[in-house]
């Protein structure tokens, strides 16, 4: 446990001392602020089926596909490239502590990005005071959205860690992560779009499609509905990905 804590603190410090994390965070906040402002402007002109906060969370796949691979690409692939992974494993820190600390550091950073966005609607509501529409900083939407990011982030980050656990190239790790996350994001919609009406015995396909729909899960979380299926998908998937990453790191040459 001491090795995990030590490594986690080191990973977080290293991540936040590097300019790339700050650049990614700035880009993230800039994008979210723009979407939030645009959505708030749209809402001020007439009734919309979503609140500005919900609109921001609906853009979730964009930072997921562009920024998360950047955050995970260095975690293990860079250590392999520079040879420091072997040096790390020559200490008391086992492969489990290494994988978990790196995953936890990226997960905390990812959730931290989204949590920092939550300041925007709260700031906007505080600035407008009593004249602010209560939906501007809808706490349920903010809390639900953050809960979704936190829970789904376990799998998304674990996929990134897994993709970097077997390669020495951070760029390849980022590309693999992007492809896997894209596949996970669109697979629900693609499966749902298959013309399965005339097919026999494919109910499981529809069921799988329903389980894989990210944005439906986001809506559930924002509405306060916590189903066990997405929890099992994200947490179980994360456990499997991190388990395989552990095996990849553990294996002596």
């Amino acid at each position: 446990m001491r090795a995990f804590r030590t490594l986690l603190a080191h990973e977080l410090r290293t991540m936040w001392l590097g300019w790339t994390t700050w650049a990614a965070w700035s880009l993230f906040l800039g994008l979210q602020a723009f979407v939030f402002w645009y959505a708030a402007l749209a809402c001020s002109r007439g009734p919309m089926p979503w609140t500005p906060v919900e609109a921001v969370f609906r853009w979730f796949p964009l930072p997921l596909l562009t920024l998360l691979p950047l955050l995970t690409m260095r975690a293990l692939a860079e250590e392999r490239r520079s040879g420091t992974l072997g040096a790390l494993l020559s200490t008391q820190a086992g492969p489990g502590a290494v994988v978990m600390a790196k995953a936890a550091a990226v997960w905390l950073t990812w959730v931290g990005f989204w949590a920092s966005f939550a300041a925007l609607p709260l700031l906007a509501a505080a600035t407008l005071g009593a004249s602010a529409d209560p939906r501007l900083a809808d706490p349920l939407a903010i809390g639900g959205g953050l809960a979704f990011v936190a829970v789904s982030g376990t799998l998304h980050v674990a996929i990134g860690i897994l993709c970097g656990s077997r390669t020495r190239s951070p760029s390849l790790a980022a590309l693999l992560t992007f492809v896997c996350l894209l596949g996970l994001t669109v697979s629900g919609g693609l499966l749902d779009a298959l013309p399965t009406d005339g097919w026999g015995g494919v109910d499981w396909l529809r069921s799988a499609a329903a389980h894989l729909r990210n944005l439906a899960h986001l809506d559930d979380f924002a509405s306060g509905v916590v189903d066990t299926a997405p929890l099992a998908l994200y947490l179980g998937g994360a456990a499997i990905c991190l388990g395989v990453a552990f095996r990849n790191v553990e294996e002596p040459d």
């Binding site: 001491r2 030590t6 420091t84 072997g86 020559s90």
Partner: protein
């Protein structure tokens, strides 16, 4: 480590270690031991199997056959316990470029299980021992090769291991840096067991108590350099600086020992071969003076470790077909 029982257990012991990659045998039934406090050179040309052996000892590579023990603890059966007793600085000494020296050493100390209250103390100590105090706040990526090697050695020492494995610690360093690393290694003598892998034989000879020589994965010789010279090399010849010529010097030498052989060895230089232990070795200078042979200098030819290494590998090549 102070009791008698612990002194009898080798700090590092390798028994029949073998590593195969398909049909290629990189390390072939290598056996040797390193006593506590001893500095041993692990010699061999590039590709001899030195780094492979060290990686097996560090637990980063599995042996195909054989076993290795660190302080009596099996590297294969109890890797975590063996890791606590051993530190390994790999050949390319990988270090994180974007971390400061002190911060890196503190991290390594914690990961190696140094008590939290002793981390600062140990880091200060190794910074001092490795002459790194002035660079403690520098980014590792900004350090010269020599300082990076020092950081690698400081990392190896920070948790006070029983055994340190150093893979080519002076490779790529300039002469000043080599001297610095050599002094640092000498200071470790008697404190912990050190196995230094190198193909720079003259370098190893100046630091190590004993050498282990491997060639094409096989152990070809081990022992103290002087013992190996006696075992593997002909007796050292005497070099006489004189213009009198080989015949005059040879005649005097033959009077002292009929087995003496003299030959010209360049202008103004005669080489005299004598059996080991021949009394003529000590009496030749006086005899030449008595005989009126003018002598400018007389010295015993010193055979370097290179000659020992070549003789050992030649012997291995001769014995291999019979084995």
């Amino acid at each position: 480590m102070g009791d008698a029982a612990s002194q009898t257990v080798p700090a590092l012991e390798v028994r029949g270690l073998t590593r195969r990659y398909g049909k290629l045998t990189a390390v072939d039934a290598v056996s040797f031991a390193v006593a506590p406090g001893e500095i041993v050179g692990f010699l061999g040309p590039n590709g001899a199997g030195k780094s492979t052996t060290l990686r097996i000892l560090a637990g980063r590579l599995l042996a195909t056959e054989g076993s290795a023990f660190v302080g009596g603890v099996s590297v294969a059966a109890e890797p975590a316990a063996a890791r606590r007793r051993l530190a390994h600085m790999p050949e390319n000494n990988p270090l994180p470029e974007d971390t400061r020296v002190r911060e890196y050493l503190e991290l390594r100390a914690r990961l190696k299980g140094v008590d939290e209250e002793r981390v600062g103390l140990r880091v200060d100590q190794v910074l001092h021992d490795c002459d790194l105090r002035e660079r403690a706040g520098s980014l590792i990526g900004h350090l010269s090769k020599g300082y990076r090697q020092r950081v690698g050695i400081a990392d190896a020492l920070v948790a006070e291991p029983e055994v340190v494995l150093l893979d080519e610690p002076t490779i790529g360093l300039d002469p000043h840096q080599v001297l610095g690393i050599r002094d640092l290694l000498r200071r470790l003598r008697g404190k912990l067991a050190v196995l230094i892998s190198s193909h720079i034989l003259s370098e190893v000879e100046q630091v190590c108590d004993r050498v282990v020589i491997i060639h094409r994965g096989k152990l070809v010789a081990q022992g103290r350099p002087d013992d190996l010279r006696r075992e593997l090399l002909p007796p050292p010849a005497l070099a006489v600086g004189t213009d009198a010529g080989a015949a005059a010097v040879g005649a005097v030498a033959a009077r002292l020992d009929p087995a003496a052989r003299a030959s010209e060895d360049g202008p103004g230089r005669v080489r005299v071969e004598l059996p080991r232990g021949s009394p003529a070795r000590e009496r030749l200078l006086g005899a030449l003076a008595e005989a009126g042979v003018p002598v400018r200098s007389l010295s015993e030819e010193a055979a370097g470790l290179e000659a020992v290494f070549l003789a050992a590998t030649r012997r291995e090549a001769r014995e291999a077909p019979a084995a």
